[in-house]
Symmetry: C2
Subunit: 346 residues, 2 copies
């Protein structure tokens, strides 16, 4: 049986801030069965993760960071791959059966034709919504957990600053830091997010960076004794201001640099004298390097979700058609928490 399959492509590479016009909705067809002897797997996609890092794969220059599959170039006209949760509708591979729920690297489409290697794992039926496995219980959660605990080695009572704290990773970093007993300040781009951070997620303080004339001064206000740990999601002048306000032996984990993802972004020039004299470390990381702590992260995070100590913030749009605006919205700060596309209930 063949069905229509809507999917999203980029029309061309681009270096500037993304626009919906950079994307195109296409419709193909896909067979919902596999040929005898084939090891193909057909997946009906249920939830698609929308992540800012994908923009780096949409640039002409994307191959310059070609040291990770997270940087593999996306070709115009071809289906875009990313983190997806789906349900197996047909399988030529004995390891996967019809109706298995699977998490993997599939396409921004209604259905995906995949091989075993694209499937990261099977999901057991869950006490939490399936979308959680893309966010708080998935790579965003692992990024927050590993970047904070493994790279920054935070101590109880230390002062922690998180940028893009209303985003998928940032909000979790702040919550983990509070659970450890740190003083936590987040910045975000709307008053609504600021209120959420302070009133719902337990941040000690939060501020709207768009309302600050001088980020350096803003950070001095919230950290009169300096910052021990900065979890960076944005780069640019926020990184500069954080370094200027860091204490000795301060640690910066660089998870993302969304303000530098397009060609117009101001590039960070942190004060190197501060880095030397305050013995600051700045480290980039990818969650994929920390699969060794996945089980620890997953079981602790499940526990926190069960007790309600960790809150989940999701921002869900419906349908393949909504992907371009959802993706573009990430760079305008439209999303609150994890951005997910819901395609089907099952």
């Amino acid at each position: 049986m063949e069905v229509k399959n809507k999917y999203i492509v980029i029309k061309h590479h681009f270096e500037d801030a993304p626009k919906e016009a950079n994307f195109e909705l296409k419709t193909g067809t896909i067979a919902l069965s596999v040929a005898p002897g084939s090891d193909d797997i057909i997946v009906k996609n249920l939830y698609i993760s929308i992540d800012p890092y994908q923009i780096n794969r949409m640039k002409l220059s994307s191959s310059s960071q070609g040291t990770s599959s997270f940087a593999a170039p996306i070709n115009p006209g071809e289906a875009i791959d990313g983190a997806v949760i789906g349900k197996v509708v047909a399988s030529g591979n004995a390891k996967f059966q019809k109706d298995d729920l699977v998490l993997g690297v599939f396409t921004w489409a209604q259905y995906s034709l995949v091989k075993e290697g694209s499937i990261l794992r099977k999901l057991e039926s869950s006490e939490f919504p399936l979308s959680y496995y893309l966010g708080v219980l998935g790579f965003n959660g692992l990024s927050a957990y590993a970047g904070f605990f493994e790279l920054c080695k935070p101590l109880k009572g230390e002062k922690v600053f998180v940028s893009a704290a209303g985003g998928a990773v940032g909000n979790l970093v702040g919550q983990y830091a509070k659970l450890l007993g740190c003083y936590v300040v987040g910045c975000a781009g709307t008053q609504k997010k600021v209120e959420l951070l302070k009133k719902e997620l337990g941040f000690d303080e939060a501020f709207n960076y768009k309302e600050e004339k001088d980020l350096n001064y803003a950070l001095k206000r919230y950290f009169p004794d300096g910052i021990d740990v900065y979890f960076d999601n944005v780069g640019g002048e926020t990184l500069e201001a954080a370094v200027a306000n860091m204490r000795i032996f301060g640690r910066v984990a660089v998870c993302g640099v969304i303000s530098e993802y397009n060609s117009a972004g101001r590039k960070a020039s942190p004060n190197m004298l501060d880095i030397v004299y305050k013995r600051i470390s700045i480290r980039g990381f990818l969650a994929a390097d920390f699969l060794n702590v996945f089980e620890e992260f997953f079981s602790k995070t499940l526990d926190y979700l069960r007790t309600g100590e960790l809150k989940t913030i999701e921002d869900i749009s419906s349908g393949v058609e909504s992907i371009p605006s959802a993706f573009v919205g990430l760079f305008k700060g439209d999303n609150i928490g994890k951005k997910v596309i819901s395609l089907a209930e099952d």
Copy 2:
């Protein structure tokens, strides 16, 4: 008995490249005996260490990095303190006797009046020149050793890049890296230094950065497979080029950023996307944080000096009067190896 005592001061704070006119030779008097009951110590200075970091203490803005004694502001008109080797001529402190050789933080002067706390240690009579205790067997050596081995955790066979490789620290980093079995490339600012690195110190390659139009391209030439470890003494565009050429999990130890020490210096904007995707770490450090490995550093380095596996490059000027030109020369690349002022033989 009172004698004349020549010493060097700064006339005023300055932010630009240093000029000899920023300094002034003064002459005071000093008693070569101590009053009964005083715990003063009078030191005749034999060798004075001339180090680039001191310029940061001569700026109006020096207090902004006020998190280390290495950043304590120098006041115009007052004697400048720095690493010195001297001989005790009189002592009211029972721990120090006349004729003891001492290493400490004394003044850029012929004689210094000091307290016990300014003396780091006594030197036993040495098989090597006393000046070595300011360089290869002192803080420069410890900077090279700890920055390379402790921060960068290098492995045999890794590819190492060193900037200011003809300087007091850089030449030692390269030699330590060769002794470990790394591939080592250094950059310097004159052809003479480049020849020294390749022919005398065993660097695999060296180049004159002033003759390169594009440092990024130069590094691609010497590191076609990328850089594992970059020991940074200069900052600026060299740091940017190194980051662009780094391999995954590359490590940068920032010992100094001489190209950014004056207000005209171009500030480094390393590509943050490289830092994330290649999981690069950039860490500033001070040798003083690694006193725990001093004995290990010292005994290994003594052994290397005895066998001739490590060579010592010194650049010695004579007399207090030569301090301003020696210091200014550091920023013009005049010195080859460790810059020392010799004041007296004993």
